[in-house]
Assembly symmetry: D2
Homo-oligomer: 242 residues x 4
């Protein structure tokens, strides 16, 4: 079954920052979309500067899984948009949060914590080695025991999140840190996958292994939620038994 995917990208770096544009001439969302072309996905792309901040109800209604990339403009996303997306997730839409999306209003809303972490950005990057700690998980399908991101921004522990439902990956950084880098959470009827590798000044979103993980994450987060009962308030006036 074709999965309807919307890649939402804040999209500001690409407008203002020539080096980012050089790496991602079709924006980050374009690079990800290209990397997912071999999957049975129907992909739409949206940015913060689109009408209704790229998150109108009609788009959400036709989205099975939403990808979220944001960095410098988290605060500009309107609370009303966050409310809309949250309700859509709770009703069964999947959410894949990428890299600096850890600090987005969206992810913090779903987690209930600050989602703080340690970080380091070096011009040359840090070598990141992503270890697959749960090779039996669908998101790990086809992955080797570990893979490397030659140039990465370091994200390190402690990561201020609720305990994940499942830990799929843990990263090692040459500079000396570790990080839970592939994590799942269920909220309401929706499934959330957080994947930390990715950055605007390194070509990580051109990496086929990263595409594979994101593609697996989308397929895992997809739930045929059309028919699912929403978790509504439910006034049961009469007892079932007296």
């Amino acid at each position: 079954m074709t999965i309807r995917v919307t890649i939402w990208n804040e999209g500001r770096h690409e407008q203002t920052d020539a080096p980012v544009r050089a790496i991602y001439p079709d924006r980050i969302d374009g690079a990800i979309a290209a990397g997912l072309a071999n999957r049975d996905f129907k992909i739409e792309r949206a940015t913060l500067d689109d009408p209704e901040q790229g998150l109108p109800t009609e788009l959400l209604d036709r989205t099975d899984v939403l990808l979220w990339w944001g960095h410098v403009a988290h605060d500009e996303v309107a609370d009303a948009a966050i409310d809309r997306v949250q309700q859509r997730i709770l009703a069964g839409m999947g959410l894949v949060v990428l890299h600096s999306g850890h600090h987005s209003k969206m992810f913090r809303r779903m987690m209930g914590t600050n989602c703080n972490l340690a970080w380091r950005e070096l011009p040359e990057g840090d070598l990141e080695r992503v270890w697959v700690t749960n090779p039996g998980h669908p998101i790990a399908d086809g992955l080797p025991p570990f893979f490397e991101i030659p140039q990465s921004e370091m994200y390190g522990e402690p990561f201020d999140i609720p305990a994940a439902d499942e830990i799929i990956m843990i990263s090692w950084f040459k500079g000396g840190e570790v990080f839970r880098s592939g994590l799942t959470f269920q909220r309401g009827l929706g499934r959330i996958f957080y994947f930390s590798p990715g950055h605007e000044t390194f070509p990580i979103y051109h990496d086929p292994m990263v595409h594979k993980v994101i593609g697996n994450g989308i397929e895992w987060a997809m739930r045929p939620h059309g028919g699912a009962r929403k978790l509504d308030n439910w006034h049961r006036e009469e007892p079932i038994h007296r």
Copy 2:
């Protein structure tokens, strides 16, 4: 070590509703405070109609564990107050959420979900039998295999929350439902205990067994957090290793 407990009670029913005042002449927070008198707690009481909605920074700063009871005025609690309490929880303050507090801004903020459930309120109440499913947990200390609430408001599944870290109790209702009624969650450095039995028109908060559970929950939620490192953003400019 004495635990500094603040019982926050919305406190509206007691002002407007004679039957509630008859059952709780010293308000719900008063009944709970009386029931905890045998513990090594220093208790303060606060309500929504107190200055700063009963949640000023100075009070939070001297609170180890906060109890939360609200029902009809959830929406009146200012977002700024919710923000303050959330940050205090993430920094290590305990939170005990009671009954209809499941729908408070406070609990929903910490959970990231709507916290919907099924419910039924009969004049005569439903018999609720609370089963202890995790008798090894500190919150279950001294509890029998089950205890009964003769007159209860039915709260039933599905309960729209993230998977609890620990399930301590599951309730049976004579009318035919089940409910996860004693649950723990860690968020940041703080511990959260949700306990569903309790109501404004039934004398549940005069019940010694309920006092025991709440008292155990407070002792469990207490963390000597004064010295704990907050989960801040942490810019590590230099690698530990080159």
Copy 3:
């Protein structure tokens, strides 16, 4: 993709007990197989009294998901057979444990606990109402908010198991108890689903709703493990980095 299912049934009641034979003339495994006929499953059936106790290596090697029903002869299953099945599960085979299988050597081996519980067997049975607490889970696909087993053996809390990875169902019993009745566990690369409704003297395994749950459980437990890396000891003689 067709799932290769083996239904293993201890199969003793059907030999010795006329009332059981009357309800299950083709044995319990036969009733379950008939109920799964509408799924894309290739089903084999095996019993304790078959060669190698119905669990030869060749059969396990061609099994994607194994169902386990046992009751009065748990102790007769050889440790070597349990060893074989355990290793096959850890390598990715699914396991669905039914009803009194909670006390089998197989389930206790995988759990590490005694798997004790409370129980009551009345001639007329107890009414059991199974509540779906996690309607977003694949095992809950197509299920109503709750369904009833008119005549059931009561299984009640506390259930001595490790915390389940996911709780899909919680049961209510007319006699006054609750039970976590639909549970998932991952062990190694394998997925385990425990489903408590079922009994040899009640026609539960003829119930279409029970067939639906078991069928969903099998589809969930199936992992295309042929290619998955086993979780072996792995001697890495050389550091990746010096």
Copy 4:
């Protein structure tokens, strides 16, 4: 309240291997006991070559928390001893499993998995940096953000265990690996803490930071279980309600 701790050490390396004896002249259990002298513990020491393999019922009966160190003689521990200890844990005794105890019959029995992992033993050791990922947990009390083991045996992912209840620490190895190195599990009424740093040819058990973690782990694993109800089979002949 004084905690009654038994340190069980296989104790074979110390008999046969001069370099180990040089590092641990009073055996590994002696080094650990010395490091815990500042806690309110009543410590006994036992080894595999003691009567009843150092695990007689009377000793277990007076033990609140048992430490387990084994390496080359896992298979020599009698199944009957493992049975005894398992039942004692399920009844509330704490268990702290150290380093190569990951492959002991004891830990595998409690986990239900093979507990395989990756490993590397270099003469000079690997630098291990232990990151505290859950600083709010009692086992992390008084720990810095990370600490280092200058010479360690590398233990790496994937670690074949059930999902831990809580992850307290994740280790980074200079050679390029990561490992979940501080983990908790509840089984029955008992609490289990696994802590991987430690080795017979490196002086890790003389390290004050390691003593602090083990001491915290013991205090956390201690449950005043004397009065706790065991999780027995419980035949409830009569319904509570008709």
